[in-house]
């Protein structure tokens, strides 16, 4: 086995090698070879399996049931062919993976009588083989003779390899076995069949006997037979006619021991076979000191290395007589033939096998580099973000190529700032496929990876891409992965099926790919390809300016025999941002969609003429017209939009059919001379897998949007989880639910946990609830930990959710991090909750206990740290690490909310928004939020600028709108707008249009609203209370005023309104501030806290 390992290929292949046969038998050359190869593959370190439909009991431990094997595209299936197969052949042929035929030869049926079973078996077998060849990728034969047959059937010579049968050395024999050579004893091994020539052999034996009875004393034919077979009966009658009944033995199937004895007692092995694909006994005999005399037919020459072959029976007989009389010649022949046998030892065959595998599998590190191609058009901010995040990749072996469409939104200026660090090209046309092809031509990496400008790659994206390609067979020419849909923490789609009609099957089950009409497609925003394959194949079809572009390429590649992989761990986050093709939920570029659908279907469906036309009409009606009609009837879209859409669909169809006449529109790609230009990574950034280990983080929270609705804590964890996932960590979240279930989306698992209620008599209901939940959560975390060890647990102070976890001895649980948010006592006081003192004490004790037992404490602001230490009379110590919350530094505009389109809001029309300076207040209209200060400041604010307009959004439970009407002069009131409650989407859109934000709140533990304003570069005029001054830096990104001082607030707004330069400076400051308080920075600081706990568990004890 040692030699085999030396011969083994140095590869990172992680798939399985599955050898398939119809029946695994004992004492059968093909079955023995399956078992031998299985041993060799295992010794080489591969995951090797034998699968068969039928089997002999003696070999049952070597195989699994064919029907129980599920193949993935990473596997290699080796189908052993030696005749017609009802199950295994068709099964192997329909798998979507790398497929090898190992051909052991099917005897030409003409050699058998027409009514025999063998005739049928071989005839059907050869017909089936011809059908199989185009469906397999690689072709192995145990001799060149066999391989030539496959090549004649169409097998690619460059993918054809000889993998001979392993012939093990002769076994040692037991003492009671006679091994003395008996002169005049002939032997032949092989099933009784006409191609083996046993009848001729008996005749030759008779001839020899006639010449010299001592030269041919006995002939033993070792092999099975079918008593009703014609040839067998012919053989019997021949023996009888020649009077040889006593001198010829037909043994039937014998034990291995008997077989050994026959071989060792004989003087000559004589073979008159006219057709052998290999002929194992021809190699076995010399290994037992027995010379072989055979006819030079079929593969015999190849197997025997040309030694001991004869053109005809006469010369064979002559040689036999000559050898009888010359012992030294006899020994020389045996020696030469035994030397030839060394070609079939395990180690020799392993070398051949490694050679054959080398054309199927990549050697370790074969794929070394990636070219990331981003095609962009008028999405400067998204592009900036994508480039920003690319700097956090853990694997540095990639370059970045940006192809800019005819952008006029500042993208060119952005790209100028990146010049020298990335490759840049321009495409004057708004055509994605042309852009992509330009990107391919500029690329020098082994792999070309496309990511959309509105997507963000996971930190391990490049690393995973290279690892996936290096661990899969070389036929994998493309690879895709899932995309997290921004804002939802759910996959936009996972695996995707595509057919010749351009129908897509989102989340196609893996085993359906390759079955029926379905092949695989990739998500355009996360699709990768082998570069040389793209270059050779002409890349993208430039018809596809948008829509079906990557689908067509994927289909074409697979029709040409390539495999496309799906890698669940190659992940990006995708925004689905607005573009010129996608302006809103029903506002797409319908003409292009129809045009390219029709082109695709015309090219690949096989339909034509009227049939094609009516198929397309129905298709567009069903998929496009009906939903639009529904939207129109529901009043979601206007009549003109609807009618335009119908018209566009119609025009698109005609155009597509016309374009199809010049299909395909691929072109010869030319590689640019620019060398590979590695992207520079962010220095000092600690990447998962490179600098820090991947962690499994468990978060216990009652709020986790969008899974469980919530407030500030939910927002905090939503952003944290999003970033931890992007960084490449695994996250499990324990949230309350009505039933016990786990929702898994790649590295994220949400554990809905059913809390069981027990009532502690005399206990406050709220406390009782919190306590029960904390115990339930502990139970759930233990279960998660059992499945996969949890590295760190994170939970917030509110409701002491992690109390039960905290009180477990510190070394008997994973480390616990507690985030300090507003404590119960402060919330109760702010909300005026009347709580009995003993209950209040218990709530406080819960919190105190949690803080004392946690391994690390994260106050989300300095203010909250001091509030808590005052409330619980506890001093911050080394376990305390202050870390601000963070949010994504870009806005989230949703396709389902028509992106940034803002409908008229209660008298606040588009013209108001365009031509005014919007002073925005967002929050509940209540004193705690400082609405009274706004009322007092309004007249002064409005007086300072005629373009100022005050917009107040939020619920008004106390009727403040009424107060305003009384306190503000009527002529000013038309510049004050009350919107009431607004949705998150409207909030985002208003902030995008605001001039400044008022934030006069009297208490905040952090202040997320100012951060949300900073995202849009909106300066904030805020009160100097709570943690606000930590978020809003005075004169940097806003202006602070003293608590309760409305004059000072009005003055600050007036300064902003009248001093454009100040406004501009603070606006820039706001954008910089949110970059500083970004979710990535916040997650990084959280991680460094996690790290201290994990790398130094002893520190916890101190």
């Amino acid at each position: 086995m040692k030699q085999i390992i030396q011969a083994a290929l140095d590869t990172s292949f992680k798939g399985r090698i599955i050898q398939v046969t119809e029946a695994l038998d004992r004492a059968d050359a093909v079955s023995n070879q399956l078992i031998e190869l299985d041993r060799v593959f295992s010794a080489m370190g591969f995951d090797s399996i034998i699968a068969s439909k039928w089997h002999h009991e003696d070999v049952s431990s070597y195989r699994v049931n064919l029907d129980d094997v599920y193949i993935t595209e990473s596997d290699i299936v080796i189908f052993h062919s030696c005749g017609y197969t009802e199950h295994s052949g068709p099964w192997a042929a329909r798998q979507y993976c790398t497929k090898v035929i190992l051909y052991h030869n099917i005897t030409p049926h003409e050699l058998f009588s027409e009514d025999s079973d063998l005739y049928k078996f071989c005839k059907l077998g050869r017909e089936q083989l011809a059908e199989f060849v185009p469906q397999f990728h690689y072709f192995w034969g145990d001799s060149q003779y066999n391989l030539d047959e496959l090549i004649e059937l169409g097998a690619r010579p460059d993918r054809s390899f000889v993998v001979p049968i392993v012939v093990p050395p002769a076994p040692l024999v037991s003492f009671n076995l006679s091994t003395r050579k008996i002169p005049g004893n002939w032997v032949f091994l092989g099933r009784v069949a006409s191609n083996k020539g046993q009848v001729d052999l008996v005749r030759l034996f008779a001839r020899a006997r006639k010449r010299n009875p001592d030269a041919a004393k006995h002939l033993t034919i070792v092999g099975g037979f079918n008593p009703s077979d014609d040839y067998y009966n012919r053989l019997l009658s021949e023996i009888a006619q020649l009077g040889l009944t006593q001198d010829v033995t037909i043994t039937g199937k014998v034990s291995d021991e008997r077989r050994e004895q026959y071989l060792r007692e004989a003087q000559f092995y004589v073979a008159l076979s006219v057709h052998e694909g290999f002929g194992v006994p021809l190699v076995e005999a010399p290994l037992r000191g027995l010379p072989v005399l055979a006819l030079d037919r079929a593969a015999a020459r190849e197997t025997m290395g040309g030694i001991g072959l004869h053109d005809d029976e006469d010369s064979l007989l002559q040689a036999l007589f000559a050898l009888r009389g010359n012992d030294s010649d006899y020994q020389d022949l045996v020696k030469a033939q035994a030397a030839n046998a060394s070609r079939f030892t395990r180690s020799s065959v392993s070398e051949k096998l490694a050679c054959a595998l080398a054309s199927i599998l990549p050697v370790k590190g074969f794929y070394k580099s990636v070219s990331v191609v981003i095609c962009t058009y008028n999405r400067r901010d998204y592009l900036a973000r994508c480039l920003d995040y690319l700097q956090c990749q853990s694997n540095p072996n990639f370059e970045v190529i940006v192809i800019d469409g005819p952008s006029d939104d500042g993208t060119k200026e952005l790209l100028d700032s990146w010049r020298g660090r990335i490759k840049i090209a321009e495409n004057g046309l708004r055509n994605l496929s042309i852009s992509r092809n330009l990107g391919i031509e500029l690329s020098q990496g082994d792999i070309v990876a496309f990511i959309d400008d509105d997507a963000i790659p996971f930190d391990n994206w490049i690393d995973r891409i290279l690892e996936e390609y290096n661990s899969r067979p070389l036929l994998t020419k493309a690879l895709g992965g899932p995309a997290f849909f921004a804002g939802t923490l759910r996959f936009q789609s996972e695996d995707i099926g595509i057919d010749r009609h351009g129908n897509a099957w989102l989340n196609i089950p893996r085993h359906e790919v390759g079955q029926g009409e379905w092949l695989r497609s990739c998500l355009g925003t996360n699709s990768t390809f082998v570069r040389h394959y793209l270059m050779d194949g002409g890349g993208f079809d430039e018809q596809f300016d948008y829509y079906l572009d990557e689908s067509e390429l994927c289909l074409r590649m697979q029709l040409q025999g390539a495999l496309i992989g799906y890698a669940p761990e190659v992940i990006v986050r995708h925004e689905f941002a607005q573009s010129h093709n996608r302006k809103g939920r029903y506002n797409y570029d319908w003409k292009t969609i129809a045009k390219n659908t029709c082109y695709y279907v015309a090219a690949y469906s096989g339909l034509s003429g009227e049939e094609l036309r009516s198929n397309l009409k129905q298709r567009l009606e069903r998929e496009r017209v009906l939903p639009l009609k529904g939207a129109f009837e529901n009043g979601e879209i206007s009549k003109s939009l609807y009618e335009n859409a119908l018209d566009s669909l119609k025009k698109g169809m005609e155009q597509g059919l016309l374009d199809a006449k010049s299909w395909p529109k691929t072109r010869k790609l030319k590689s640019a001379s620019e060398p590979f230009s590695p992207f520079s990574l962010r220095s000092g950034y600690k990447a998962v897998g490179r600098d820090i280990p991947k962690l499994h983080i468990c978060i216990v929270t009652k709020e986790m949007p969008p899974f469980v609705p919530g407030g500030g804590i939910g927002t905090l964890y939503y952003h944290l989880v999003s970033e931890l996932l992007l960084m490449g960590h695994d996250v499990s979240i324990v949230v309350p639910g009505v039933e016990q279930k786990a929702v898994r989306q790649g590295p994220l698992t949400v554990h809905y946990t059913q809390s069981r209620w027990i009532e502690v008599p005399g206990m406050d209901a709220g406390l009782n609830h919190n306590m029960t939940w904390s115990i339930t959560a502990l139970h759930q975390v233990i279960r998660i930990h059992q499945e996969r060890p949890v590295d760190v647990i994170d939970s917030a102070l509110w409701d002491a959710e992690a109390l039960a976890i905290a009180v477990v001895n510190r070394l008997e649980r994973p480390p616990l991090v507690v985030r300090l948010v507003t404590p119960f006592s402060v919330v109760a006081a702010m909300n005026g909750w009347k709580v009995q003192p003993r209950v209040s004490r218990l709530f406080n004790n819960f919190e105190k206990e949690l803080i004392e037992n946690a391994d690390a404490i994260i106050p989300i602001s300095e203010k909250i740290a001091s509030t808590i230490s005052k409330a619980h009379r506890t001093e911050p110590n080394t376990r305390w690490h202050q870390s601000y919350c963070g949010i994504t530094y870009w806005p989230l505009f949703d396709v389902n909310e028509d992106y940034n389109d803002l409908p008229e809001l209660k008298g606040l029309g588009a013209d108001h928004l365009e031509n005014s300076k919007i002073i925005l207040f967002i929050g509940r209209l209540e004193k705690r939020k400082g609405i009274d200060l706004v009322v007092s400041a309004v007249p002064a604010i409005l007086a300072s600028d005629p373009h100022a307009r005050i917009v107040i959004a939020g619920s008004d439970p106390d009727g403040w709108q009424h107060h305003f009407a009384h306190m503000i002069p009527a002529d000013a009131m038309h510049r004050v707008h009350f919107l009431g409650m607004i949705s998150d989407a409207v909030k985002e859109k208003l902030l995008a249009r605001a001039y400044c934000l008022l934030f006069p709140s009297r208490y905040e533990s952090f202040g997320l609203v100012p951060l949300e304003a900073f995202v849009h570069g909106v300066p904030v005029v805020a009160s100097r209370s709570g943690a606000i001054p930590e978020v809003v830096l005075d004169d940097v990104c806003g202006i602070l005023f003293d608590e309760n001082d409305s004059d000072m607030m009005a003055g600050a707004v007036r300064r902003l309104l009248t001093d454009e330069r100040l406004h501009h400076r603070l606006s820039q400051g706001a954008l910089a501030r949110v970059r500083k308080l970004s979710s990535r920075n916040s997650a990084q600081s959280t991680l460094s806290i996690y790290q201290t706990l994990i790398s130094n568990p002893e520190a916890i004890e101190q």
Binding site: K741, A742, V743, H751, H769, R783, K834, D984, P1097
Partner: protein, 179 residues
């Protein structure tokens, strides 16, 4: 429907039903969050009905809710709470009630969250979601022993925590740690 029927509902289902009767539409996320917060922070259900019924959105539409005009006249104060106002010493009962309502609303929140997402979750996708079954015996036993050991300590905060700690530490719930 009578106002009292509506008032019998709690939490999210109260807000949803109020929306469907008064505004004749489904509640949106932000609306639901807002009114759940109002309930949590002590606003009465009556007040919320009045807010909805007098909102700009409801203006001009006929609301089929018997007893609504009376409620609006009273300004959304419940009869119980008007009665309570006579007893100044227990005036804070309102806040107490509000807090209990907050606790209930939290439960409702869980229900609401699950109800929104479960149709997506339970769908059978071989590659997607693993369903976890919990025997729950350990959890159940722990909860029962907590119930026993805490019953007498619920009035003493320090004793309570001590007892809670001891019970958890001696419970069958433990992590299998590798170090």
């Amino acid at each position: 429907m009578h106002v009292s029927d509506l008032l019998r509902l709690n939490g999210a289902s109260f807000v949803e039903t109020a929306y469907s009767i008064i505004l004749k539409r489904q509640v949106d996320r932000s609306g639901l969050d807002h009114f759940m917060n109002r309930l949590a922070s002590g606003d009465s259900k009556e007040a919320i009905i009045v807010t909805l019924a007098t909102s700009a959105e409801a203006k001009g539409s006929r609301i089929d809710l018997i007893g609504l005009p009376t409620l609006i006249r009273k300004g959304g104060k419940s009869p119980l709470r008007r009665f309570l106002r006579f007893f100044s010493q227990i005036r804070d009962m309102r806040r107490q009630l509000a807090r209990i309502e907050y606790i209930v609303s939290q439960q409702e929140n869980i229900l609401a969250g699950s109800a929104i997402h479960s149709p997506i979750m339970v769908e059978d996708r071989s590659a997607g979601h693993a369903h976890v079954r919990v025997s729950g015996d350990d959890l159940h036993n722990t909860l029962v022993s907590i119930q026993d050991s805490l019953s007498n300590t619920a009035y003493d905060a320090d004793l309570f925590i001590d007892s809670f700690k001891k019970t958890i530490r001696s419970s069958p719930l433990f992590f299998v740690m590798s170090h």
